[in-house]
């Protein structure tokens, strides 16, 4: 059955949220948001999903600081972060490329990354683009570091990295990514060619499971409509939902 890359990524992320109690989704994260809503559907509603900037898919009533306070209280199990640059140590750059403050390429900014990366146990990194432009040997600007010295209070950190080519898991001990699964149509060589950092490769490489018909129906149905409340353009452009469904 035909599916879009974003739909594959949604179904690749959803299993990472299985068994959790509360997943929060931050700014500019339609795919992770859809994955969280898909996982909630599968959990029969046991999984709580809080989507920043959503009117209906959040329970927060204490203003903008609550999602961060809530995470610091240990009440958020998983969160998502992107990166204009991501390196092999899971350091992420949401600020800019080539110089600071007068960066040649300027991204929006660090958002809550410098905090959430430290306090949320399972932070899933996400980037549709998987190129040497994004996956770099060393980020130009560290918005948030992938690891910290032992003396630094850090109950949280990176869990995995999901891209348009593959899924990595992060190993805290070695502070390196290990290849977890490769998307249909991608080879290890492709990934090596387009990744600017070194990563570990297991003896056996799993393919990323393709979305099932049931999953696609959900994504293009209720899940799409729900995420469309916060990301209407995404729902229209990528999931091809009509405006009136959103």
């Amino acid at each position: 059955m035909q599916y879009r890359t974003e739909e594959l990524l949604i179904t690749a992320i959803a299993p990472m949220l299985e068994g959790l109690a509360h997943v929060a989704v931050g700014a500019a994260s339609p795919v992770p948001g859809a994955a969280a809503l898909l996982a909630r559907h599968r959990s029969a509603g046991r999984l709580r999903v809080s989507i920043l900037a959503s009117e209906h898919h959040t329970c927060f009533t204490d203003g903008g600081r609550e999602i961060f306070d809530c995470a610091a209280q240990g009440r958020i199990d998983a969160f998502f972060l992107g990166g204009g640059q991501i390196d092999g140590g899971a350091n992420i750059n949401l600020v800019g490329i080539d110089g600071y403050p007068r960066s040649r390429v300027r991204f929006p900014g660090s958002f809550g990354s410098a905090f959430m990366y430290f306090v949320v146990p399972r932070v899933i990194l996400f980037s549709v683009e998987h190129s040497r432009r994004v996956m770099v040997p060393r980020v130009d600007f560290v918005s948030a570091p992938g690891t910290s010295p032992d003396r630094v209070y850090r109950p949280g950190g990176p869990y995995g990295l999901v891209t348009s080519r593959c899924v990595f898991r992060f190993q805290k001990e070695s502070a390196r990514f290990v290849l977890h699964s490769v998307h249909p149509g991608q080879s290890l060589d492709d990934i090596r060619e387009h990744t600017g950092f070194e990563f570990d490769v297991p003896a056996k490489i799993n393919p990323t499971p393709e979305p099932t018909a049931e999953e696609l129906a959900l994504i293009r149905g209720q899940v799409g409509a729900d995420i469309g409340e916060t990301y209407p353009a995404f729902a229209r452009r990528v999931l091809e939902l009509e405006a009136n469904r959103i």
Binding site: A27, A28, P30, L52, A53, E55, F60, T61, D62, G63, G64, R65, E66, F68, D69, A72, L94, V95, G96, Y100, P101, R102, S103, R104, R106, F107, P108, G109, S110, F111, G112, S113, A114, F115, M116, Y117, F118, V119, F141, V142, S143, A144, P145, S148, R151, V152, Y153, Y231, P232, A233, F234
Partner: protein, 270 residues
């Protein structure tokens, strides 16, 4: 207390620090257009904790000399073109932050304390760049470094809300960051969709989401005051118009055209 839009923005001095809310909160677009018409300049913009069209437009209009923010983004419309251009050309002083650091700084001002500790941040280049942020040893446990942030007390908190009453109380519902801004700021200027004759504090349900007049300096009624951005529970964003802005703002000339058509041309400018 109740005044008109021009008087409201007229209270913002050149060089003032102005706190604004994200596009999904109390986005005061009509006030931003009035501020640009007014020609107020050298503003120090504080995004609580990020900002969108308000910031891009003020920066593009040359009203802003510095920005403290966790991000400037137009959301699904993409990067903020005037912000990006100003950064590349070094036209604004950047004070990059992270969302909870801005909330914490405002909470310090709210509590009248000089600083607030915050977890995380250690090892981030934000800490390297922000010479006003420090690292302290947690006095309650050995060898536990923690970041401390100075209080942020803006001269002005500027936002849009659904409702106010004649006493000057402002209803913000669950958008509690607007109350934090009002508590922390020296002066709070608010545009509202409607001004009701009933006392918001007399209704036990509405009182819970109301900023008391005690913290509010002036209020102006501006219908659709968030347009073309939306107002939660009231109206959605005018995505066609926002796309048009984003397209035009990609160039300085296009942005000037937008200003001429939608800001300087008073008729169409709310």
């Amino acid at each position: 207390m109740i005044t008109d839009l021009d008087d409201l923005v007229g209270r913002i001095q050149d060089g003032a620090s102005v706190a604004v809310a994200p596009d999904y909160s109390g986005c005061a677009m009509a006030a931003v257009r009035a501020l640009i018409r007014h020609g107020t300049g050298n503003l120090h913009l504080l995004a609580v904790p990020q900002a969108g069209f308000q910031a891009d437009m003020l920066i593009g209009a040359g009203s802003v000399s510095s920005v403290e923010t966790a991000a400037i983004t137009l959301g699904e419309h993409g990067f903020a073109p005037r912000f990006t251009d100003a950064v590349k050309n070094g036209r604004i002083l950047l004070r990059d932050a992270t969302c909870p650091a801005i909330h914490a700084g405002l909470q310090a001002a709210e509590k009248g304390i000089p600083f607030m500790p915050l977890r995380g941040i250690l090892g981030s280049d934000l800490l390297v760049q922000r010479d006003d942020w420090q690292t302290l040893d947690n006095p309650f446990s050995e060898g536990d470094p923690i970041v401390v942030l100075p209080a942020i007390r803006p001269d002005v908190a500027l936002f849009h809300a659904a409702r106010a009453d004649r006493q000057g109380n402002v209803w913000i519902g669950v958008r509690r960051e607007l109350m934090l801004m009002a508590h922390a700021a020296k002066s709070t200027l608010v545009t509202v969709e409607e001004i009701s004759d009933d006392d918001l504090l007399a209704d036990e349900a509405y009182a819970a989401g109301t900023i008391p007049a005690l913290y509010v300096s002036a209020i102006a009624q501006v219908r659709d005051g968030a347009w073309p951005v939306g107002l939660a529970g009231r109206y959605p964003a005018d995505t066609a118009h926002l796309s048009e802005y984003t397209r035009l703002a990609k160039t300085a000339a296009g942005f000037q055209q937008y200003l001429d058509e939608h800001v300087r041309n008073r008729a169409s400018a709310a």
